[in-house]
Amino acid sequence: MQTEVMFAGFGGQGILASGKILAQAAMTQGFEVAWVPSYGPEMRGGTAYCLVVISDAPIGSPIVKRPQHLVAMNRPSMEKFAPMLKPKGTILINTTLIPVDAGRDDLDQVMVPATALSSALGNSKAANVVALGAFIARTGILAFETLIATVKAEFAQKEKLVDLNLNALEAGRASALDPCRGQSI
């Protein structure tokens, strides 16, 4: 089985970093992975995306026309990539910056105010990790414990960021699993 997760947003939102954490966690759990970044002439504030391919068999094409899942951190990236998703995929929508839904009824839409939840933790820059925590909690494509261990390892060199990011994962999980939040914005 192969699954693909696209992360998209603007430069500076930690798009490539959250994709890397997912790839690292999937590798730790024994999967084959490929992390493919966008590397055009980008700048802070421009668009950024990356694709993580996870498989239990060697990965053929790292170029995927229709990914299964999308973590959309801003509106332009959701509008650009949501139409490409395979039916029955999952789209995580950062509702703090995206005031609309994906307009598709064949996707599982997970509405999480990732930026607001991150700000509530004292630093809006962990919104990518909030979104990642929510995405994994909702889809279950990896064990949440693996994600926690990976985040600890990833930020081991920057100790003061470990707690922030672990709290961000947890905030994301709580938000994604909150039945009251539902599909509304």
Partner: protein
Amino acid sequence: MAKVLMKGNEAIAEAAVRAGCLNYFAYPITPQSEIGEYLARRLPEVGGMFLQAESEIAVVYMLYGAAGCGARAFTSSSSPGISLMSEGISYLVGAQLPAVFVNIMRGGPGLGGILPSQADYLQAVKGAGHGDCRMFVLAPASVQEAADMMADAFALAEKYRNPVMVLGDGLIGQMMEPVSFKAQKAVAMENKSAWATTGMSARDGNTPNLVKSLHLDPALLNQHNLDLKAKYERMAREEMRWEMYNAEGDYQVLLVSFGTMSRVCRTAVDMLKAKGVDVALLRPITLFPFPEEQIAMAAERSCCKAVLSVEMNMGQMVDDVKRSVGRQKPVSWYGKCGGEVPTPEEVAGVVEKTIADMDFT
């Protein structure tokens, strides 16, 4: 060794250090600059030399100097930078010096773009430099293979005293995949006392070693080229590498594709198989020497009706595929360039159209 998640560029750099290469000269260019960035930090840790030159022309002659002294050295660049090194590559071939080049290809011609491409195929395998000059060319299709090939590249360069190129593309350089480095220890350069300018006191005998590519006597220059030719032929006999996929049973179409593009083709083969269409893939791993016999034999099978060369360029390797297949089967090309990478769906569509267009009556 445990697997680590690394960019292709970083894996190439680390693999070079582990292969015992302590000399890296380069000039930065996207999409391979992480190689230099990594080595600027890594090489001083192991007593090595990282040097950012003033231009690619300077780089190639730094390699010439290092190699001439019997030092293991390499450089990396991307398409336009390799063009600037062309003269020096020919000098390295002429002087029979070992050196490793990494080309992480981007779109061309000219300054082109910075996205993945395979548009330097002809340059690498036919036009590396002026004169009867050939480079040994390896084409990785994954980060793991790029790392493994670096170790092989130094060994091949030293065995044949000839430049070796690892020809990747922007995707191989920028993508992260799990990689494990071979545990084996780097071996010292074996044969250098016979040719390197290491100083008379460093070896026995009274004959000085001379590193040069100038031979004004036509008979000597002809003989020199015959010797080089014999070396290229030996490479073809001893070092040819290729890989077949889905070729055990019958297949209607044979795909030939290398590097990143071959992985897309592999997925296209799987997609077609799921629809009941059998297609085989032959991936040349060495581009020079080129596995022409293997392609000819795969095309000769009576089940095979057509051959399709799939490339991220406007049709370069297809010339070599045609030469290999001859007139026995139709050979066509499909590809895109400039940073566009054909998707598995597009490749599968072209294969289906190729089959539909064939006249079986």
